[in-house]
Amino acid sequence: MTRPTSHSLAACLAAGVLTTAACGGGATAPGGAAAGATTTVTLDGSSTVFPISEAVAEEFQKAHATIRVTVGISGTGGGFQKFCRAETDISNASRPITAKETEACAAAGVQFIELPIAYDGIALVANPKASWVDAITTAELKTMWAPEAQAAVTRWGQVRKGWPDRELHLFGAGVDSGTYDYFTQAVNGKEGASRGDFTSSEDDNVLVQGISSDELAIGFMPYAYYAENKAALKLVPVDDGKADNGAGPILPSVETVKGGTYQPLSRPVFIYVSVQALAKPEVVQFVDFYLKAGGALAEEVGYVPLGDKGYELVTAHYTGRKTGSVFEHAGSQVGLTIEQLLSRESR
């Protein structure tokens, strides 16, 4: 009775070992060879920039079958960590690189070229039933979102006289997201400074759900999420109180974001290219392609392309191999277009 058992067990384990060997050993050899034969371009970083880089990679792949382009999502910060260890060629970023990250890059000998590639508008949205909100000023936004507002500003009536004395329900992007960083910088003047008692989610679809099912809700999210849910949400125009970039409340749209009149809630997004990686011809080819096709593809996946002048300046920036960040580590610059930023830098 026990004999066949022991044999079959031995056979099973032997088979197991064999498959392991077949699995591991068999595949290792071609793997080692493949790594040398095909060339790869590796990107990682922000999930906001991912759709643009994915689209560019997809199109690039069609023309260059032998070059493999891969894109990861580890967040802007996580992406820079890998980038500054020279583990990736290009880093996707929804905010400028920080001083600390630049130091880490410098310590590892990684130099980079900063290339703005598109704008992302942050949409302010309310529930369609909230008939009283037809526009909002940046001052009112600050009243709502300032750190001091925590537990103090809890009713619509406290934000503007004439709005109903009903509960105010705030929704916003998760505190680890670049969207949150930029929003707090633009509204409260300091990155990461805001009240903590609002409903936040890293998944913007959750915000869409929340706001569309709550009459008393208002919140912010990347424009693309509003664009896909126009029926369920009401877009609120923002008045920055300055007349020189368009007076009165302004709605986000391709024109207003590109033209710099939808302020302060539109921001540039970037790719950072490692100078060392540009020694590889496939990376040069890919970045060239990115700058040429990136604008149209960004628009296709829901972002706002830079103006023609913008791409001209970015391309000049790239061909001149200008390293470093135009932001000088001061964080996001609110209210400047890429054209203004880049020409300031090249001055």
Partner: protein
């Protein structure tokens, strides 16, 4: 006797209690299954329309209706096969040592305690360990190998614990009989104990691999990719897995990507069920043969 009878209720009351408990247990089971059924039904409604041969055999795309999942299926299969190949021998060997050789020594008990604790560590911690150990220290890069190594670490505690439980269920009479016939300790373990314990070992392996195949966090941490226009062709290749692709699609703003995500969930479920069914078939074969 008289005391215990006095304490308990009448015979009819006890029988009623029996029925009540039976009904309650059934109700809990039905509620749990109904919840699961509703979830699967919902996913099916969203995703069934996207399931097609093209979906299964193409690569990701920015256009939801052109996007496929081939790369992620191959990636998941690669990773899970390697994970099993690493976790099974190491896990079984560790358990055999602890159970058969380690005895009650202080060291063995210390190791045992630590393994039990490891089983409860959040998976992202394994991701960080994998990033430091496999990706960077051992220079594996963001490869299938590094991903499988990380998941094998994640699976090991459960494999070890369940193997030990399985070894304990082997009656001591079997061991003693084997020794009495002159077999050495190793011969006893290899020819008698392990075959009898195999069904339990495989159950543990199924449970831990089922957890591993659905993991996202540790693989994102070690740098599994999201856009990858090719299927991994070796253990050193870059890769992605189904849960990561699903996660990416779910978080997209476009509704069409949510259908893709639902279809991806169905594929992952099918893969998981196939894997478990296979393991159960193998287990049952051994269960029948292993009976002395």
């Amino acid at each position: 006797m008289a005391v215990s009878l006095k304490a308990s209720r009448s015979s009819a009351g006890r029988r009623r209690m029996d029925v009540v408990f039976q009904v309650a247990a059934l109700a809990v089971l039905v509620a749990a299954l109904a919840g699961l059924g509703a979830l699967i039904g919902d996913v099916w409604r969203d995703g069934a329309g996207r399931l097609s041969w093209t979906f299964l055999t193409t690569f990701p795309s920015r256009r939801a209706e052109q996007a496929g999942i081939y790369h992620a299926i191959v990636g998941s299969l690669y990773v899970i096969a390697l994970t099993a190949a690493m976790a099974l021998p190491i896990g079984v060997a560790s358990a055999v040592y602890l159970e058969e050789y380690g005895g009650r020594s202080r060291t063995a008990r210390f190791i045992e305690l630590n393994i039990a604790n490891l089983a409860a560590v959040p998976s992202i911690i394994y991701g960080l360990l994998g990033l430091g150990l496999f990706v960077r220290a051992l220079g594996m890069g963001r490869s299938v190998m590094a991903g499988a190594g990380t998941l094998a670490l994640l699976a090991l505690p459960v494999v070890i614990l369940s193997t030990r439980e399985a070894l304990r269920t082997v009656p001591s009479t079997i061991r003693e009989g084997s020794y009495a016939l002159g077999a050495t300790k190793w011969q006893t373990i290899w020819h008698q104990v392990l075959p009898m314990a195999l069904p339990g070992i495989l159950t543990g392996l199924i449970l831990s691999l089922s957890r591993a195949i659905g993991e996202t966090a540790p693989l994102i941490t070690i740098g599994a990719l999201t856009y990858i226009p090719f299927a991994p062709d070796s253990v050193w290749s870059a890769f992605t897995v189904l849960p990561i692709q699903i996660f990416n699609w779910v978080s997209r703003p476009q509704v069409a990507f949510k259908e893709n995500a639902a279809a991806g969930i169905l594929v992952l479920l099918a893969l998981l069920l196939t894997m478990n069914a296979l393991a159960i078939v193998v287990r049952d074969r051994f269960q029948r043969k292993g009976r002395p």
